[in-house]
């Protein structure tokens, strides 16, 4: 069975749902961020799969989108983790259910 486009898209959908699972079910702030990263990676996989199987794969548009998406996701992960540390210093816990007050 040579992998067709549908197989890659199903894998990317599976990864996206797993990321969604992590975001919706986990109570630890860092793992919500991990779930977001997995969702972004699934979207990148989608882009690359469509670039590869598309009718005219000559201009590397899918590659470019994926590259910039990786860079931006890395920046967002860094800032997100810094925010988790900053919020931890105030609340002394990383359980997002306890972040319930706007007053600092």
């Amino acid at each position: 069975m040579t992998p067709t486009l549908q197989v890659f898209l199903i894998i990317s959908a599976a990864l996206f749902s797993i990321g969604l699972l992590a975001v919706l079910s986990r109570r630890h702030a860092i793992f919500i961020l991990i779930g977001i990263e997995i969702m972004l990676a699934a979207a990148n996989l989608n882009f690359i799969a469509f670039w590869r199987f598309g009718p005219h794969p000559q201009p590397p548009t899918g590659i470019m989108i994926a590259l910039f998406s990786i860079a931006i996701a890395a920046a967002e992960a860094a800032v997100g983790l810094a925010m988790v540390i900053a919020v931890y210093r105030h609340y002394r816990t990383t359980n997002v259910d306890q972040y319930d007050q706007l007053k600092g």
């Binding site: 992998p3 067709t4 990864l15 969604l20 793992f31 990676a41 931006i72 983790l81």
Partner: protein, 160 residues
């Protein structure tokens, strides 16, 4: 040959991602997060996008995973077990996966094989980055600098 490697890589990737999303032990989940990204990079290699795969390993496994484990270390009072798991999220995730798969399988125009393309060399990516995509490149540079400074300011302790 191609399909055997593909099946193994896909199974490992999805299993590692599932482990990252559901494991109780924080460190094990973070390390399987790194393993999932190695799997995704391998899938990129199979799709012919080697540069993106290597960039993924470099950035995610080499930097973001280290950041995540450091943050886990710095924000624990006890020896890291995550308490609480919301089962409603699992139902939503399964529903999303089901609907996506149904719509993919229903679309007949997606059941195509891979056309034969010339290998994408790094030179072409570099040429595209410097000609057609030079403005996004500069913007991403500014964004990364801003993220660097912002992350530092967020975490820096004020001097009393």
């Amino acid at each position: 040959m191609n399909s055997a490697a593909f099946i193994v890589t896909a199974i490992i990737t999805v299993a590692a991602a599932l482990a990252a999303a559901t494991l109780r032990n924080l460190m094990h989940a973070a390390l399987s997060f790194a393993a999932a990204f190695v799997g995704i990079a391998a899938l990129f290699f199979l799709l012919g996008a080697e540069f993106v795969g290597l960039a993924l390993v470099f950035i995610y496994v080499g930097a973001v995973a280290v950041l995540v484990v450091f943050t886990i270390l710095l924000t624990r009072r006890d020896v890291g077990k995550d308490r609480g798991f919301n089962w409603g999220g699992a139902i939503v995730a399964v529903a999303v996966f089901g609907s996506l798969t149904w719509s993919i399988l229903k679309t007949q125009s997606l059941a195509i094989g891979a056309p034969h393309i010339a290998m994408l060399t790094v030179k072409r990516i570099g040429a595209a980055l410097m000609t057609a995509y030079v403005w996004p490149l500069q913007c991403v540079g500014i964004l990364l600098t801003a993220a660097l400074i912002g992350a530092l300011i967020l975490v820096m302790e004020e001097r009393r």
